[in-house]
Symmetry: D3
Subunit: 238 residues, 6 copies
């Protein structure tokens, strides 16, 4: 029995609220149980220096946690004057994951920034960020298309992400904070709507994991992401 | 007629939602119209070095804006590696304002940090932060009292804040972003529940203001803060 | 009786020494009693990026304290790698105050930087900086006019500043360090030569202040600034 | 045919030179073909603050590239004043990988720092760092054991790492820089001498990868790491 | 004929004004012609961590230039967030030079910080800093002795410094800014009152210098420092 | 008898290995006994902003030490976020020394960066860096000449450097770390192949040094550099 009482292959309750704030071209509050992340997509009509005059655009992500999103207060990174290694890793992952479904030429010479700010953390903030960030990105792209700024849809697929782990020897899906703390292995999986892998990051926490355990986690992740893809589609169609 | 269509002495719709997130000892979403700030109060059982072994506590504030809280995206301060001058000024103001109603000896040797993070900005974020921050602080203090950690109530008053300005020669209350951009003078006023001043900060934007204009603004502010004090009390009693 | 033995409405001895150093377009040593600030005005034939090709100029200020300007040594900000919040607040205030009397179009696309460096501190360094900074600015503008670089005088007024406070229940003018430490309220007032307000910043230190106290402080300030305006004029005419 | 002309399952020539410099407790030059990384292990008789009085030690890693280790010169991170995101990610990975085979209690309250400095880069610097870093760590642990500072061997296993990828649809082992630039998928695998996984990090570069491709890469990696484990053992026994 | 019209072995007019500001234990304005540096000596009853419980004290120096001490404005180092290489070099030199005449054990476990802030620059600011810094240090030490905090005089000698150079093939003493810009070689020499060398730093600017030129510069420097030592003594006795 | 057992005028064993790494235009491992520094010269087809459109090039140097190049581990400067004062001083010295033999107009509008990274330190790393850096620079210049990118040889001389000191009253040449720690005076001398001085930096460590001691050190240095110039020539001709 896992700490949350959920079945091994059971997701937490998922919610995707579009238009959560009003300024951004895309603004989505994504909730995986008690984990709540505000994902905004901002369109900027300029690109990083290395892409100037390339006719290609860019999609990047930034990640942050409000200081008291967590059980005990975390120092504000702006006050400390630098982002932690963990933050940098996560935002690089989110950016790579989202770029994997974007045709940067079709996007045109502009930049979309996906800001993922964790209002409340209960495990799985990076995978929630990717899953919600995709919906915010889709809304921003919709704005560009409606305005006639892009000719063809720069999104050639959907992307979502989920965490899996080994809890007391059994693979489990979508770990909350309490489960993550006890897990022997923690893996984040990013996949597209064709069921193929975009990123796989697994780390042994307690002891090294066997190939069979890896296979079990990948099976669970694949199944969970399939359901997240459906949730995203439902949110975007509503 | 002011841009928002409100009467000169009319506040925007005010909302104070307690328990907006679940980890913090106090967590309040404060809304002044479209301005939305999440204020959390975190209790830490330690004090800054200069207060160690003083039997006194400390209350401090930090302020941040999500990058896309604003009409166009602002750089993330954590990514730039430093807080802007405006941020530093605002968080110092919030801290001073809240400390004005706290008996730091009664608080005991602990620190309360008020984090004010702007989810959506439409003018008046610093005064909203003070007004909502007080409620979060009161909740945190309530937790300490319930737990028997403080003997007497460290709060000896209430504090709230509002902006006032001169719009086309007339003093107006509670400026939104559009009004603030057009105002000739911008003033932030912080008062306690006895109707006395804790902080007054007025800046001429267009031309210098006369004593009569200053008096008019102070009258409006005093009246507005009175209503905010009532709103705070209602929220805390609900 | 106030600590300095001065009457409630008595300024300290004021001195404005022009040409204190020889490189700057304006260089003024301002003394308010034992407070001594070197204000230099430097003309640069370039503007910040956001003003390029705007036909408008810019006036900005920077503030610093020599490490041993104070009773005990303060860390050098250059060595610590960042300016303190207090420094940032003060230099923003000085810049706003001086810009309030400058026609930035008449100045032309150039920048004047007012550097205010405190050689010796005894309270009121920010108001001394504004008062002396104006004289340095006027000298720099004079240089531009003599050189035929500006067609009409970009200065459309004079600006000066003074601190006021409540000491043992009585409003007093121009607090020195000892008085400032004991004051219940501390207020900085910036006005122009028409007797109108450019900035008002009042902070309760001990207990909140009443409207009547505020009024008393504003009266004193208004009177004191009137005398400072006269001192500036005398210095500029000598 | 892969760019290097190697068979799909062929490692580059591997060299592990112990005692490359003389000050460190462990100092190993690891070469994977033209990739050359100097790994030093430094024993320090102190631990990070959070481990004080815990009777547990710590193993951590830092990673750097000499500015001209690469084809065109990279800015020196010390001169820029911050480590890049990529650097932070890599050094966190190396540290986690090495800690996975260390009994931190047996190590005692001391810290071992593994510095991995790339003298020449040709792909696979992070996996070479882990592979060589293990040998440096083993030498440092050997020093501690000889000196009687640890009672039982804190190393409970061996760890090595290799990169795998998909090149023109085929899984290939140990990519050099030219191959890495062309690869559709890039995966780094860290395993122990029992053949179990410590870390798996796979990223789609061109298009998303299928489960069968993932399986193929894992098979190659497992086989390659087996050979690296043998190389490490040979180096340590020589 | 040198640009300043001075004879090759002629110093500029030297002035040492003690008690220039009132807070510091030593405060000296040193003038070498138009070069003006404010040197303050601050006594602190603590030492850097590596000297704790060593019964030894420390003397260190910090150097800064007011932004408009120079012909065109220099960026403020505090605003840029780092000290320039030149600044760091100079303050290290001043610190070493002064420590050369201090018995750190006799000083006791305390620190003296010599702050050298250039109010106006016209060449030779580092040598003026050493020469004036010594007098400030002597005043601070005098304070300690009068207060009975040190038993025996920690100063076992005097130290002064001067610049020399080669101008149109001829060695010249005490270069001002205009001369320094034209000089083929620039050398700073620090000596004690016994006429021995504490530091010699010579740099070829135009072409490499010959041994005979070096000898000529050292002769001039030795003679000039002898006169500075006399000036210091006179100032301290006045 | 000096600690190393060498004669007073005896250099350590010198080795200059060209082509130590393969990417840089010049790559030299320089060894002075146990001191080993990797010097690379990188040609970049751009110049610093202040030289744009000047038809002049630039030569600059950066210096670093691997964390465990030394007896006990030194913090990595990239991790600390700033270069130490010592590092800045050394790299400025190396840059000045190398520029002294370069005709920057003949070099053309490009930049050569000399990176000197200490793999193993045993005293004299800055003088080894200059001596080896020259050979790397010569190789980079050779590449430019072969490619027809420069018309005439920008190198108009050779430059090398050595340390000298006073050990137990006697001048000695080329101090290793143990000798440097005991030396009463430490001097670094940079000369060209004509036997003239480019830089002389002498510092009294124990007591001030006499003119005769200075003369003795300069004689030794001159003789030692003569031999280093020969070693450089031999390396470049091999």
């Amino acid at each position: 029995m896992r700490p949350s009482g959920r079945a091994a292959d059971q997701l937490r309750s998922i919610r995707l609220t579009r238009g959560f704030t009003r300024h951004a071209e895309g603004s989505v509050l994504v909730e995986f149980g008690d984990t709540r992340v505000l994902c905004t997509a901002s369109v900027e009509e300029r690109v990083p220096p290395w892409l100037r005059n390339s006719n290609r655009g860019w999609v990047t992500a930034e990640y942050g946690m409000l200081p008291r999103a967590t059980g005990s207060r975390t120092d504000r990174e702006a006050a400390r004057g630098r982002q932690q290694g963990r933050t940098v890793e996560i935002q690089r992952l989110i950016g790579r994951a989202l770029r994997a479904v974007v045709d940067l030429e079709a996007l045109g010479e502009r930049r979309v920034v996906i800001d993922c700010d964790v209002l409340q953390a209960d495990g799985g903030t990076r995978t929630a960020s990717i899953t919600g960030g995709y919906v915010a990105l889709a809304d921003a792209v919709g704005t560009l298309m409606k305005a006639g700024k892009v000719r063809r849809n720069p999104l050639h697929g959907q992307v979502a992400a989920i965490s899996v782990g080994i809890h007391q020897g059994t693979p489990v899906l979508d770990l909350d904070y309490a489960e993550d703390s006890e897990a022997e292995t923690d893996m984040n999986v990013v996949m597209n709507d064709a069921g193929h892998f975009i990123e796989v990051q697994g780390t042994a926490e307690g002891h090294a994991f066997r190939r069979a355990e890896l296979d079990g986690m990948l099976d669970l992740a694949s199944d969970g992401i399939d359901r997240l893809i459906t949730e995203q589609r439902a949110a975007l169609e509503s």
